[in-house]
Symmetry: D2
Subunit: 339 residues, 4 copies
């Protein structure tokens, strides 16, 4: 099957499988006390700065929930966009597990503005109002858009002025980094991001997500919380080696660049088709478009993809590390047939 449904429909990169096999011998301490995990922690310190504290978890929802939970008091809230993955795609896990309110702000391109954030810090000290304590942004966003480095810096600034923390959901952080042509550190640690959900799964791993505390004052005792949130992996070396492989030899960069390029190619081709309107800037590996009903009814049988908005028939087409030019050509042909 070929698809444009999600980067998690794609297989794992062959280098990742090879690395799994390579470490599959002998005993290693469980629960993250193994040698591979130690190497990975070191690698994250190289990439995000020497104060980085790393906690591997099972999946992106686990990463976001652990990151947010660890920074919140029971009466505090999270500012995010209406479109954020934590708000609409995690089955209510943040509310269920943390018990925290999400204050979801409107955002046409899934990006928060500093002014919007500043306005959301209201009723400080009023016990009747859940107190905003975290601002959570997604990079690249759920709409395939990007925050510039300056935009993140400005958000960090208003966040910190309001005595809050800045969380970055990096489920597709690799796609963002190559699109920005910046190192991870330049758009996170260096501009004031406090904690990152670092995602590898969507960039060619079987599974591999981590919470990275960049603010040196944060991240104490998180291992206890991770366990009580069911996010502790016993044979952690097998996840660690995947992330280590991704972060070695530029695998992450090669894969993410390719996926982004395929999205550009797809956008160029579909933008010429009648009845299809691209709705968001194509900045990473996703193309969002409104399409005629015939397209969303018929094409997914051949190439699965998701309808993003039931009311407007907006769809999402996602490219992966393994999407080929031929895939794009075939997909566009299928769309044409459906039109």
């Amino acid at each position: 099957m070929r698809s444009f449904a999600s980067d998690n429909y794609a297989p794992a990169h062959p280098e990742v499988l090879a690395a799994l096999s390579a470490i599959n011998q002998g005993h290693q301490r469980a629960y993250g006390a193994d040698e591979v995990t130690a190497q990975l922690e070191q690698r994250f310190m190289e990439l995000f700065g020497p104060n980085t504290k790393t906690f591997l978890v099972w999946n992106g929802t686990g990463a976001n929930v652990l990151a947010l939970y660890s920074l919140l008091k029971p009466w505090e809230a999270v500012i995010c966009t209406k479109w954020s993955h934590i708000n609409v795609d995690e089955g209510g896990a943040p509310e269920r597990i943390i018990g925290a309110k999400l204050i979801d702000l409107p955002a046409v391109d899934a990006k928060l503005s500093p002014a919007q954030i500043a306005e959301a810090f209201i009723r400080t000290g009023d016990e009747h109002y859940a107190q905003p304590r975290i601002v959570s942004i997604t990079q690249s966003t759920e709409y395939g858009t990007l925050y510039s480095v300056d935009e993140i810096a400005a958000i960090a600034d208003v966040t910190h002025k309001n005595n809050a923390y800045l969380h970055l959901d990096g489920a597709r952080i690799g796609n963002a980094a190559v699109a920005l042509n910046k190192s991870f550190k330049e758009f996170t640690t260096d501009v004031g991001v406090d904690v990152v959900s670092f995602g590898g799964t969507k960039n060619g791993l079987i599974n591999g997500e981590a919470v990275l505390y960049l603010n040196p004052l944060l991240g104490e005792k998180v291992k206890h919380l991770r366990k009580s949130l069911m996010q502790l992996n016993s044979k952690m070396r097998y996840t660690s080696v995947q992330l280590l492989t991704l972060l070695s030899n530029d695998l992450w960069k090669r894969s993410a660049s390719h996926a982004n390029q395929m999205a550009q190619l797809l956008a160029n081709q579909v933008s010429k088709l009648p009845g299809i309107k691209i709705t968001q800037p194509v900045q990473v590996n996703a193309v969002f478009a409104t399409v005629p009903q015939s397209v969303s009814d018929n094409v997914p049988n051949e190439f699965p993809f998701y309808v993003w908005n039931e009311h407007t028939n907006e769809v999402r087409w996602m490219c992966a590390w393994d999407t080929t030019e031929q895939d794009v050509t075939d997909f566009v042909a299928a769309i044409k047939r459906a039109l």
Copy 2:
């Protein structure tokens, strides 16, 4: 002190105090197995219909949380307005205690429309999306407005068509009933409301709130949930007698009518003042208005009230069962001095 801050700044009605003293003798079974509570349950059946199941709780937040919790599966969500008390005035209790997501929709007058509700039932069966299962409306609303009987019927209709329940937060249900000139039953049970948070505290009790299940299929085993939510009152007779008194001899009606009239009087008088703009229809016992900074800075020293919106300087003036015409006159005079 006199105030226009909230109907909970007011004292209890003398008839309530008298009733408390009258029952203060002898032993009674604790935790609601007493005779007074039995009488109250009977009274609620008279007022809301013979299938009504009554559960007393401590306060309005407790009523809302118990009502919602009892109807939700762990992955389900509540549709409400952005202005709803459950969303912005309960310290995040619904999320913290229930673990449920609130889907808060925009509403200029704090009222949901059926069309809005219909649009919010999306992604049915999609495990990534918290599934809407309750629609919660407030009557009278947080903005002092009213749903008509027909509006509630239409909301119940769209709610039930989507396999959901309709909750009515009646913290000020008495004020609503007298304004509509309807019995409680006519705008709840008769038009499809499934569960009500019935409030007495704001209408002249010391404390007295109840969850009323009107839908005969609901309300089983709620006593267990109430206890585990810390909402079980041991000496319940003392709360029951307050509500029983409120619901006898039209006390609720006398008190609510008076408070509503005082709000009309206040609205009439302030509407003539320069710089003061009434922002919502005055339908019950609240007046909302935008005012010059000098008013919100100075008047509360003499007559406390709340600023409702920090950004627009909208304020709320609330009348109570004990607000007098003289109070209104004095308050308006204070506003004039501040202008």
Copy 3:
């Protein structure tokens, strides 16, 4: 009705009702910003020491849950006895609301020993084990027994040595104080108790419970947590005045002494009856005994009481502030008839 079921079957003391009526005039700020609550906070500082921070809540379960929640990290646990109210009589509220584990230790007289506590601090730093952080004792205990001042001091010592906090559930703290013939402060603040659930309801109030932080390092921001736990009382003056009345003119002492004396009288009389075996030292206002089935089957129709242990037919007889010598005489007569 007369009963030996619970001190919460009894009415409120007339002085309490009189105090309620006395303050029932004029407006007061809601949610604890009123003058009566300020006076009560002052009174608690006199009784428990100048660092005492007071937070009124609705009921005993609310007090215990708030006290424990405010001191625990999400992965921490509470050491208590198997018989503790938090463990077996709060409908699972501590687990449900806090999400914390209770480590319930065996205790024949419902009292923990320092040695037992010391042994329970195991696996420190092991994320697989919920980390004990609070020791919770009840004074007087659920079995009507008492910790001596020295015993509490020794428990506080072992608790603090293990980097934990000592909580005292004082649902019947008045009965304990008069039995010990000590001031509240002498067996709490002075010997290292960090936080107290102070109960008034069972000693002749309608309702009145408070969490008292005695350790000056604790108790910050608790008002937010209280609200999000649905324990914030809007018209707080009415609860505050009850506690203030209880703590004035030795009302608490008069009532508790009397209840304790009635339990002694009852114990003396029943201890002579055949087939009835008193199972616990009678130190406050409760008598525990194993009785023939005929007693637990028949007597409660006339004088309600609870079976404490279904397997051994152990029953609990509780005296209240209003129990009379005649009540005891009549009750013993009823028992004799049933034997």
Copy 4:
């Protein structure tokens, strides 16, 4: 490194790695809608009966929490042993995530008896007591012991008579099956187990755990709960293929039998050593023993293992699918040197 610490220190079986590589091509639907997961669901129906509903999760804690959560009302409790993994080795996750009370009963060999269970169903319908609704047993147990088929049948009987469900934590279910010489179905579905946590990780997988609903009335809508508990695996085919491989060609049986045999070998050899006392019957792949301090101080440097009881210096030695006779010989030699 070689160890006797845990079967999760061992690597994955080579057949598992080969299977991962074999399916690593092409796109597959995410979140369990793939072909491999469908095959696995079919396989579990063959092994546990045609009504089996399968839900893959990330780890054993996730399996236990999902299984328990899905069967409990908010005020219900779980009966288990003091030694159960859910009680002492999951960082308090069941309480934190479910909010449920664990009623932990004493059990010298980590096994519950039917009589003990029957006695634990007390106070039915009493809202003050968290109502027992699940009995959870572990097979093989945390102490390396086994329930016979008849024992499980008797437990199921008393459980169902009390209107409760029987959960079996099968983190080492393969070791149990080969030790009993029974099919999975014979000691679960056939004797009334309602739900199983099926573990593959400890029997030679990288990761692979599943919740199996055997009772045909259970398991509806669990996919929603799984997602909201952060237990939904996006690229599920990679976990499914591991379990499918384990359950094909008797891999599970070969691996578990070998591990069990190595434990027997180890037990035979250490039982002759002075100062070492085996404390539990060696029925599967674990040996429990009290040892001199010199053993627990020194041997783990060479062969890691866990101290099970800090107070008695009882240790646990666990054999894995890859433990060799040479490992046993070397380990016993190390113990002798330490003695």
